[in-house]
């Protein structure tokens, strides 16, 4: 049911782990629903220089977390904020329909991390858009 790409990101996830000195953390999901994604970002000059994740969830949740970190690293906040759910799913060469909500969650986590970072620096997303 999963593409080869999903399996690969699931078994050898990129950028996995806590980031001790993160500039912001985007926490989304709820274990009650079976998915919890934490996205840690490190930002310099509005560029995401480092990004990691920790995820409780199914294979799709883990693979989308891994993929979003890969898509994001080195991007400006603005660019990163434009990454959509579809970008994640497409780069994984598709997700089963019933798992599409998992790709939402990873993108939401990234967006939340960015918002949190902006808030810390007294801005909103419109300031950099």
């Amino acid at each position: 049911m999963y593409t080869q790409k999903v399996i690969e990101h699931f078994t050898t996830p990129r950028n996995m782990g806590e980031m001790e000195d993160a500039d912001a953390i985007g926490k989304v999901g709820n274990p009650v629903c079976g998915d919890l994604i934490w996205i840690y970002i490190k930002v310099k000059d509005d560029v995401i220089t480092d990004i990691t994740f920790k995820t409780f969830g199914c294979a799709a949740a883990i693979a989308t977390s891994s993929m979003i970190t890969e898509l994001t690293k080195g991007k400006t906040l603005k660019e990163a904020y434009q990454i959509t759910r579809n970008d994640v799913a497409e780069n994984l060469e598709g997700l089963p329909p019933i798992k599409m909500h998992c790709s939402n969650l990873a993108a939401d986590g990234l967006h939340k991390a960015i918002e949190e970072y902006l808030e810390k620096t007294g801005r909103t997303i419109d300031d950099i858009k």
């Binding site: 996995m16 009650v32 079976g34 995820t55 199914c58 969650l105």
Partner: protein, 408 residues
Amino acid sequence: MVEQVNFNHSAGVPIDERVLQAMEPYFRKFYGNPSSVHSAGQQSAKAIENARVQVSQLIAADSKDRIIFTSGATEANNLALQGFAYRHRRNGNHIIISQMEHLSIINTVKFLSKQGFEYNQVKVDQYGVIDTQALQKAITDQTIIISIQHGNKEVGTIQPIAKISKIANDAAIPLHVDAVASAGQIPIDVTKMGISMLSLSSNDLYGPKGVGALFTKRGISIQPILLGGGQEYGIRSGSENVAGIVGMGAAAEIAQQQLEKNATHLRGLRDNLIKGVLNKVDEAYLNGHPKNRLPNNANIRFAFIEGESITLHLSLHGFLVATSSACTSKTLAPSHCLLSMGVSEAEAHGALQLTLGRENTLNQVDRFIEVLPPIITKLRAMSPLSKDVPYDLFEDEEHDHEHSHEHD
């Protein structure tokens, strides 16, 4: 490629070769309609009667009782409850089941509740065992039927049917037992156990899919669901699935003959499996009753991680297992059995459902115990949850995950 090991017999059982061989003549040669006078038809009719005897022997039914062949356990459960409820409506409109029942029972009583019936779902304890006092209290003068399962396929718990049957019989209410998961695993004697109706599935006996049976004790009358040519004592119309019925009969006979041998083998594997996993993995808990459980079932819950990701890793090592995680179900709803047993929704996501089969070996179990712990460790390293960040931190939070889904 790695050896494929099936620890997921709850999702389908391979047919026994002897069963398939018994079926084959009825595909090719004796395909006649059992109602026709010809020899091919007569041969089919005889074969069906033989299968009835084989199935009755598995559950120690009397020759005066009926074995009604159906298309599976779901139909047997529907026929038992709908058929009995409609036929005995005049005597009352109340049905008692438990929280542990299969959806083919729960959804059937829900359906009946739209047709003027009412039902109670008797609660269970932390092991999934029915609260017999609650059962006793649930009985009203409107109660016409009690339906309780024998064994639970998901968590393995075996219900105290003798006690339950005493309560039912004292109140003169017929007891229906869903024995789909227990038949062939542990002995069943419908007469001694005081059972009025009992549902069986062929596939769970290593027979073909698409066949099941409902036992009805002499004197128990039910109304048909499927009307037509009047086959199966007029209670289940439709040209008989002769090969399938023959297969179920053969499977029942083998299951009965090998019951003790298979159960001993499976109990050995199961106990090794449970002990091995619980020894090697921290924060792992057995779901279901520690002693009164089906010989082939181990259900283990792993804290802080989600079941589907465990099963996928295992499958890459060749092990097919199931999870009670909602993430693998069509509805994304968590297991109602675990919830009834007091397992939280969050914890339920981490449950592995291991159902063994006759063909499994101790070797496979040993290998599983080697393979599993590193997977758990790896997934826990990935999880934001831990003893320091437990589930209940999140209990009151807004479910923004679902929100974002809705706004999509």
